[in-house]
Symmetry: C2
Subunit: 345 residues, 2 copies
């Protein structure tokens, strides 16, 4: 998967700036790679060397200059994002030189931080890149979004869209751990095979080749859908609602099918289903569970050690390819977690 | 309001049959009034003389031959519905001749029942017609739908659509009892005045004369909307979602704007708001709270006795006008609870 690389260990900080607010699908030219001097850590701060950069769907929202749950990336600002890094200098009591840490360091080689939102990564537990996947934000998103919002019971059917992504692939596996039936919707035959043959999903289908989603859902979920974990929105989600069971629960995690729409899209009105089926439909942001992150990470680590959870990474080599990695992920080219490898530990 | 009437106390049972499944708006010709002999109660059954018939939005769904939470009224069957009645004959241990009862007796003069779903009405508590309104299904719908699903806190803003209807008018008042700010959306100046001048809503607007619902909601809810109790759906509801506050709660009670649509309508996709605002949106049917009806009725009776709840009835005189009453209610011609007075107690 990933080629060996010799990381640029010089004293240049390459940074990806957002230089244009995309309308519709972002283009590589919306980003610009600049070289600056590495930042100097102040008192109580750390300097980190970034090793892995995460690209995630939510970043599309940060490129938009609209009021949302988080402020947008400023124009000509460094693109935001989670990263795994090595501490190069520290006058922060919690962090020592050599520590591997995870934080919102952005699309660049070096960053300074006051330590807020930064956590140490235990490299004996699993490869450090998992701090951006199964043992990081995507893992916590799957864990809380499924267990706290959908609350699947043994024997129930859990349907997941975006099922072969970083979050969706874990949702189905956690559903299985809880004794539920897991069905996935994904965007290629390879993904479908991975879900059913390797991850233990009971069924999955490729929405790019299935002409009638509703009929396929009815076929693969003969007892209806009790829990729907939605990563995508749009027509896939429209087709799920009629197949929900009474008292069904929907966890709305993402709506990636909408993120590049130039203007708000229309679709069938869904709220009557809410009434007739007594549905509980809840949108969430993983941050709302921040006080329980340790619980989630402990459980995910335990399942990983027990080999009850499997994960996969799609790695692009080199910080210079970060926009390409982001765009590929938005197009669904990744299987599992999309990462950018920037430098070796 | 209602004229005096001499009830037909003969032995003819007039019944309104559903003779055509309406497409789009129902017409009076979809119903047919027939005269039959009153039914004979069997062993363990009661015979009742119907005094008040309720017409409610959910009945539109029962006219449709589609799978829903309740089976449709059969073609040429008696239209279903709640009614208040007097027991004329009884071999049921729980009911005596002369008792006033409420049950699903339908659009007719007489009915027999095995007593299932029938409850005695305490005529000393309030006028017996309230068993179809504030002390009946609409009251319970407002009580549980607001308090269990929206869970408004003191100081929060509760917005209600269909605010001058049987349910909506109570939702706003219960919100006020709980210390919240109540804002209503209704369909006439008279309704708006009733809400603000008599029921104590903090604000209300007439959607028929306001050109931009969203701007009006922003004006009347300067701190945003924490709880939205939705009776109507459609464009009104579309305009509410962008004004919900983070962690807002939506109780989806009805979607009357959709009930006469000939084919499913489209509208703006709403699910992204669920994510960005971490919304909890729940549809419900009052039956799901059946085990707690006594709690609800006791509290509603107490508030009514304390004059914390006011109610209003729009009464049409004569069983022969039941379809007209139903259609008028669907068009929003009622203020408060729409009833048909069939006979005096």
């Amino acid at each position: 998967m990933r080629a060996a690389s010799s990381p640029p260990l010089n004293d240049v900080n390459r940074q990806w700036l957002l230089v244009n607010r995309p309308s519709g699908w972002p283009k590589e030219s919306d980003f610009k790679l600049v070289e600056t001097a590495p930042p100097e850590p102040g008192n109580g701060e750390i300097l980190v060397r970034i090793l892995w950069v995460s690209v995630d769907p939510y970043m599309r929202g940060r490129m938009r200059d609209v009021k949302s749950y988080a402020p947008p990336v400023p124009l000509n600002g460094v693109m935001e994002g989670g990263a795994v890094a090595r501490v190069m200098a520290s006058s922060h009591p919690k962090f020592a030189v050599g520590d591997i840490v995870e934080g919102r360091f952005g699309w660049q080689d070096f960053a300074v931080s006051d330590g807020k939102g930064v956590r140490k990564v235990d490299s004996t537990l699993a490869p450090i890149s998992t701090a951006l996947g199964v043992l990081g934000m995507p893992g916590l998103t799957a864990y809380f979004g499924l267990l706290d919002i959908c609350r699947p019971k043994a024997g129930e059917t859990v349907l997941v869209s975006g099922a072969a992504g970083a979050v969706g692939s874990l949702v189905g596996q956690i559903a299985k751990i809880k004794g539920a039936r897991a069905v996935g919707i994904a965007g290629s035959e390879d993904k479908v095979r991975w879900l059913t043959d390797e991850l233990g999903f009971d069924a999955a289908f490729n929405y790019k080749t299935v002409p009638n989603y509703g009929a396929k859902i009815a076929e693969l979920c003969p007892n209806g859908v009790d829990c729907y974990f939605d990563n995508v929105g749009g027509e896939i989600t429209d087709s799920v609602f009629p197949h929900l069971n009474p008292r069904g629960r929907v966890s709305v995690c993402g709506q990636i099918a909408q993120y590049n729409a130039e203007k708000p899209e229309s679709g069938p009105r869904l709220l009557w289903h809410f009434v007739r089926l007594q549905l509980k439909v809840e949108g969430f942001l993983v941050f709302q569970f921040a006080e329980r992150y340790n619980e989630g990470l402990n459980q995910l680590s335990k399942w990983l050690a027990e080999e009850k959870l499997k994960y996969r990474e799609t790695v692009i080599e080199g910080l210079e390819h970060t926009p390409a990695a982001f765009l590929g992920m938005m197009r669904g080219e990744n299987i599992g977690k999309q990462l950018v490898h920037v430098a070796d530990a």
